[in-house]
Amino acid sequence: MDFEQALGLDPERLAADADHLFEQLRHLPGGAETVACAESGNGWVRVDYGCTSGVRGLRLDPRALRMDSEALAETILDLIHQARTQAETEERGRAEAVLGAGNGLLADRRLVADQLRHATGALQENLEHAAATIDRVRALLRP
C-alpha cells in the first residue's frame, strides 16, 4: 500500500523527523537567553527584557523625570510590553530555527491537522456503516 498517497505525506520522513527532534532534545545547547530592548520615541526611557529573567534593565534619562508621573508609568509599561513581545518573537524564531529547521513536524503541521480532522469524522462514519453491514450479514445467517 502506498502510505504516502493515502496519508498525503511521507510517514517515513515524518517519523524520521520526529526521531531527529527527540534526539536533538537530549543535546540542546544551553546558549544565552534572548534579550530585547525597547526605547521610547524621544529616547528618554529604555527597557531591557530577557526571555527567562524578565525585566533586566530600566534606563531613565533625567529629562524623563520631568514627565507627568502617569505618562511616565504608561510609557514604561508600554516599553516592557514591546520588549517582551520582541524577545519572545526572537526566542521563538531561534527555537524554530534550531528545532524545526527542515523538520516536517513544523512544515506539515497544517496538513496533518487537516488530514486528522477529516480522517476522524470519515473513519467514525465508515466504522459505523461497516458495523451495520456486518450486522445485516449476521442477520442473514441466522438459522
Partner: protein, 298 residues
C-alpha cells in the same frame, strides 16, 4: 514500509512525544501510549486470509457447476425409477451443501476484508494522532519561550490533547463494536450450518465443532493469557489502576505505585522490538500439520 512497521513507528513517535510533553509539564500524552501499544496490527494477514476464503468460494462454485453438468449428462429425464429419485435427492443435498460452503466462504472473506480495512484505517489514523502529538510537543517547545508563555502553552496543549483523546476513544469504541460484530458473524457462519444439520438430526457437525474447539484449546488459552498481558502492560503505561470490567477495584484510575509505569515502559519497548509479548510470547502453542495444537502432556 508495511502496516506493522507503520503501527510500530506510531507507537515510538507517540511515546517520544508523551515523554517530551511530560517533561514540559503536559502529562496528557501518556493515555495515548497505552492505547497505541494495544493497537499494533498487521492487517495484511486478514487480507491474505480473505483471499484464501475467496479461493475456497471459487473452488466450491466450480465444483458445484461441474457436478450440475455431470448430473445433467447422467440423469436424463427418462430415469424415473426409485433409484433415479434417490440419486437426485443425494445430488440435490450435495449441491445444497456446496452452496452453503460458497455462502460461508464468501461471508468469511467479506468479514476478513472488513476487519483488514478497519485495522488499516486505524493504523493510519493512529499515525496521524502520533504525528499530531509530536507536533504539539514541538509547538510547546517553540511557544514556551518565557515562563509566562510556558504556562499558556501548557494549558492550550492540554486542552488540545484532551480533545484529541476524546476523538481517539470514539474511534476506538466504534472499532471495538465492529470487531465484535465481525467475530459474531464468523461464529454465525459456522453455527448456522451446524444448526441446520442438527435440526435435521445429523449431529456430526456438532461433534466436529466440539472436536475443533478442543483441538484449538491451547491456542484459546494462550490467546486469553496474551490479551491479559497486553492489557496489563497498557494499563501500566497509562500510569493508572485499571477501571471497569474485568478490573473492578476501588483504586480504579488512581496512580500506580512508582516504578510500575517505568517497568511497563521497558516491557512495552521489548515487546515492540521483539514483535511479541515478553512473557506469553515465548509460549505460543506449536501447531500440528492438521492445524490443531498439541497439549502440554503430549
Amino acid at each position: 514500509m508495511n502496516f506493522a512497521h507503520l503501527a510500530q513507528r506510531s507507537l515510538v513517535m507517540g511515546t517520544g512525544a508523551a515523554v517530551t510533553l511530560s517533561a514540559l509539564g503536559v502529562p496528557a500524552g501518556w493515555p495515548f501510549v497505552g492505547k497505541m501499544y494495544i493497537h499494533q496490527y498487521d492487517p495484511q494477514a486478514f487480507f491474505d486470509g480473505a483471499r484464501t476464503w475467496l479461493g475456497v468460494h471459487d473452488d466450491a462454485a466450480a465444483t458445484r457447476r461441474n457436478l450440475v453438468l455431470l448430473v445433467d449428462e447422467v440423469a436424463v429425464t427418462s430415469w424415473r425409477s426409485e433409484d433415479g429419485r434417490a440419486f437426485q435427492r443425494r445430488v440435490d443435498a450435495s449441491l445444497s451443501e456446496l452452496r452453503g460452503i460458497e455462502i460461508r466462504a464468501m461471508v468469511t472473506a467479506l468479514v476478513l476484508y472488513t476487519v483488514g480495512a478497519a485495522l488499516t484505517a486505524m493504523v493510519m489514523f493512529q499515525f496521524l494522532v502520533a504525528a499530531t502529538m509530536a507536533m504539539v510537543a514541538l509547538w510547546v517547545l517553540t511557544a514556551a519561550v518565557t515562563p509566562l508563555s510556558l504556562a499558556g502553552a501548557r494549558i492550550l496543549a492540554m486542552q488540545c490533547l484532551i480533545k484529541l483523546f476524546e476523538g481517539y476513544q470514539a474511534v476506538e469504541s466504534l472499532l471495538n463494536t465492529l470487531l465484535h460484530g465481525c467475530a459474531a458473524a464468523l461464529g454465525a457462519a459456522v453455527v448456522v450450518d451446524v444448526g441446520i444439520e442438527t435440526a435435521r438430526g445429523d449431529f456430526s457437525g456438532v461433534h466436529d465443532l466440539a472436536a475443533a474447539t478442543f483441538a484449538q484449546g491451547p491456542m484459546l488459552v494462550w490467546g486469553t493469557a496474551n490479551r491479559v498481558e497486553r492489557d496489563l502492560t497498557a494499563h501500566g503505561l497509562s500510569g493508572r489502576h485499571p477501571a471497569g470490567r474485568p478490573w473492578p477495584s476501588t483504586r480504579a484510575n488512581t496512580p500506580l505505585p512508582p516504578g510500575l509505569p517505568q517497568l511497563a515502559g521497558a516491557k512495552a519497548f521489548n515487546d515492540v522490538a521483539t514483535g511479541g509479548q515478553t512473557v506469553t510470547g515465548r509460549y505460543v502453542p506449536e501447531q500440528a500439520a492438521d492445524g490443531s495444537y498439541s497439549f502440554p502432556w503430549e
